[in-house]
């Protein structure tokens, strides 16, 4: 199955978490929203189509409990966006999850080094995504690992 590799073992858990998804692909934003509804109907989702827009939303005070970042995005690449988020004191300990089609080992290593908590390859099934989101939000996402390609 498509899964993910992790950096940290324990996440702060929020009862009804707020998630920020930064992804330029409209289909993927929709898929994510539907999967999240199944995983946790009361979770709140903020979406953003690119890095600069997300940084603006965060600067305006948005306080997500989890941040999902696509890698290949126009205007600002996901890796750079992650770096910028990690520079913000208030957000640096919030789990940032790379959420991408790429299964490149290099990408995974680079982003985990830059402080990403998970490297999550977009699953090919809605129910799989929903299960993974549920595990991430409840801090159970410890046992998963990913097959990354070179």
């Amino acid at each position: 199955m498509s899964a993910y590799i992790k950096n940290y073992h324990i996440y702060p858990m929020a009862k009804y978490p707020t998630l920020l998804l930064i992804d330029d692909d409209e289909d993927d934003r929709d898929i994510f929203a539907i999967a999240l509804k199944t995983a946790e109907p009361d979770a709140k989702l903020i979406t953003s189509a690119n890095g600069p827009d997300a940084l603006e939303k965060l600067a305006e005070g948005a306080q997500p409990d989890f941040i999902f970042i696509d890698l290949n995005m126009p205007y600002m690449q996901g890796g750079k966006c992650l770096e910028e988020i990690k520079k913000i004191d208030r957000l640096k300990d919030i789990p940032a999850i790379i959420y991408t089609t790429s299964s490149s080992k290099q990408d995974a290593e680079d982003t985990l080094k830059a402080g990403a908590s998970y490297f999550l390859v977009k699953p090919t099934s809605l129910s799989a995504l929903s299960d993974i989101l549920s595990d991430i939000m409840t801090g159970k996402a410890i046992e998963y690992f990913i097959e990354v390609t070179a």
Binding site: D24, D25, P74, T101, T124, L126, S127
Partner: protein, 397 residues
């Protein structure tokens, strides 16, 4: 022979004996010298010569004649610089080698050398300083081997290694494409099919999912077509020919005639001339640039294309260009949306899209590959809100 000194003290005899002995020694020495000369003279695989302190040739052997083509009569007395290419003589390579042999006792070098008929061979040379009894340099020995065959074989191996490396890089690129970009529409098809499956009763939702499946399949198909185009650039067997750029642009204006009309695009071309290339690829190159310029155009789109010969000074800035070719430098300039200069390198990478547009992200990567396949160079400068200028260098002969 008996030792003359051990013979009876008959002075006459002694003197004769001594004289005989000296004569015999001299004869031996002469014979030995002759044998030695003969040996050097007869060696065929090495040019072995003696140079005086100024590098003038003192003797010649059969190997030298075989390798360098001169007869003894033609060459003895001339300076050994005659074996060097013009460019090496300008760089004072022969003088440097002599100097090195003078100061360190020895100089070695490998490089192309001239034969008497003007053809070249790959020579491996050792120049050694010759000293008199007081350790003063009195001249040099110079031994040259013709390693042309080995050099050509080495070059061929290197060329082969380069082409394998290129192929490997391409394979890596395709593996990357397969693992990343072709996965994306496939994954969406799978997810939307699952959604369709869950929503069969809701006709409206089902139709929406079907549309998305169809859009993803279409994108997949376009990606595969573009990747194929990209992969075919360097495997084509087509010959390079003179391509008239004016004709190319006439064709491209026809390709885009509806869009040009719709967006009111003005296209000005000036002094384009011809390039040496594969017509279909040159067309593809400018077609992609035109497509981009129109896609990201401003309110009053103006595209200017001009060309001029690349000067030797400019050519020296591009190490990938070959000295033996002449080049034209083509400027493709638009007044469109432009982009942040920090992305100037990224735009030529596959699948790097700077904006949310409908493209596959292969267009400019393809342009770069075509230009490189023609032994040219492409670069871009851009300023948001002002425009973008592509500079393309292509060979004309």
């Amino acid at each position: 022979m008996d030792n003359p000194l051990s013979s009876p003290p008959n002075y006459r005899t002694l003197s004769e004996q001594l004289q005989n002995h000296v004569q015999e020694s001299e004869l031996n020495l002469r014979e030995s010298e002759e044998r030695y000369h003969k040996m050097i003279e007869e060696v065929q695989d090495y040019a072995i010569l003696l140079l005086d302190i100024d590098g003038n040739i003192q003797n010649w052997n059969r190997g030298a004649q075989k390798i360098k083509g001169y007869t003894e009569k033609e060459i003895v007395g001339r300076n050994f610089r005659v074996f060097y290419l013009d460019s090496d003589r300008e760089d004072q390579l022969p003088e440097r080698l002599i100097n090195e042999a003078y100061t360190t006792g020895r100089a070695t070098h490998e490089g192309w050398r001239l034969r008497s008929d003007g053809t070249t061979f790959w020579g491996s040379v050792v120049i050694t300083g010759l000293h008199d009894a007081d350790n003063n340099i009195i001249g040099f020995s110079k031994v040259t081997r013709d390693l042309t065959e080995r050099k050509l074989a080495e070059d061929q191996i290197q060329e082969y290694a380069r082409s394998i490396e290129l192929r490997n890089k391409q394979l890596e690129e395709y593996a990357y494409i397969a693992s990343h970009d072709l996965q994306e529409p496939l994954r969406k098809i799978q997810v939307f099919a699952e959604m369709l499956h869950n929503n069969l009763d809701d006709k409206e939702a089902a139709l929406r999912h079907l549309d998305r499946i169809s859009a993803s399949a279409k994108r997949m198909s376009q990606l595969i077509k573009d990747v194929l185009k990209y992969s075919q650039v360097s495997v084509t067997e087509e010959l390079f020919e003179d391509v008239c750029l004016n004709q190319v642009f006439e064709g491209i204006k026809e390709d885009f005639d509806l869009l040009i009309l719709e967006k009111g695009v003005t296209i000005k071309t000036k002094g384009l001339g011809t390039v040496k290339g594969i017509p279909i690829q040159i067309h593809q190159l400018f077609n992609n640039l035109m497509g981009n310029a129109i896609k990201f155009c401003s309110q009053t789109p103006l595209i200017k294309v001009s060309a001029q010969p690349l000067s030797a000074f400019m050519a020296a800035q591009y190490p990938e260009l070959r000295q033996e070719h002449n080049y034209t430098i083509i400027t493709f300039k638009d007044n469109g949306q432009g982009f942040d200069p920090q992305y100037a390198d990224q735009v030529f990478k596959m699948f790097k899209r700077l904006t949310n547009n409908a493209g596959t992200g292969i267009g400019l990567a393809l342009c770069k590959k075509i230009v490189e396949h023609h032994g040219g160079h492409i670069s871009v400068v851009s300023q948001p809100g002002v425009g973008t200028t592509f500079t393309i260098i292509l060979p004309v002969d």
